[in-house]
Symmetry: C2
């Protein structure tokens, strides 16, 4: 993070604009705004609902349907990564490098684990008819002193 041109200053959308171009997505007003929220703040884990609330509270006029569309398109084009840890809720991760996650079961919080902090010494061979697309390690946590069963 020792860039000459700091993010989010005079050229507020240049970073997102480039990403959208590279992904072959039209830089519309809502995609630029959502992309800015997502990518200008470092590594983030958001749900559609959260991002929508955030956009609204920033005065960005965007529907929830568009937030869903956008998150899915960003995921399909590799700008985001979907993390599945909790039934009935999808998280989208702005960190698309290989890495893993801590998951706090009580409140659903996610925390990145850097790639190097987990070393998989042995991996099973993929079944003959398939190839591995990704290996996810999820370390589930309970806050100390919290004894609830779920």
């Amino acid at each position: 993070m020792s860039n000459v041109r700091p993010e989010g200053s005079d050229r507020p959308f240049s970073q997102t604009l480039r990403r959208l171009k590279d992904a072959g997505l039209r830089p519309t007003r809502q995609r630029l705004a959502l992309g800015k929220l997502l990518f200008d703040a470092g590594d983030r884990h958001v749900t559609a609902e959260q991002l929508h609330d955030e956009a609204i509270s920033h005065g960005i006029k965007v529907s929830l349907a568009t937030v869903y569309n956008t998150l899915n398109q960003f995921t399909d084009t590799g700008l985001l990564r979907e993390v599945v840890v909790s039934p009935g809720r999808s998280y989208f991760d702005t960190n698309i490098d290989e890495h893993h996650h801590f998951f706090y079961e009580e409140d659903g919080a996610l925390k990145d684990i850097p790639r190097d902090a987990i070393e998989l010494a042995t991996l099973p061979d993929a079944p003959v008819d398939a190839e591995v697309t990704r290996v996810d390690v999820i370390v589930r946590l309970r806050r100390a002193g919290d004894n609830r069963s779920q």
Copy 2:
């Protein structure tokens, strides 16, 4: 699995009965029937909907609500383990030993990976305020020759 009394023969519910007793759950007709479907067939991964369909087609009269209740109670009491791999769908695994999963992204199929087939050489320290409850490794697969993005 070298038992003298084979499963599912003359004493059809004895295995499930014992499990329910140990878990402190009343052996009701529907819990016995669902338990039998779940536990008499070796390692299984089912959704609530699947198990309900299966029960109905076996002539067991049980509501979907009860299937959900039962799966959740079995999970809470450690008879089952919930596996989260796919947004908007919960799988329940009859194998409660430490192990991991292959996940076929196309059709949502799950396959056990035995505990020893994956060796985690390095694990990050849990954050100071929390303790690890479980480490899940999910190896996501795409069937060879299948080039769909999702």
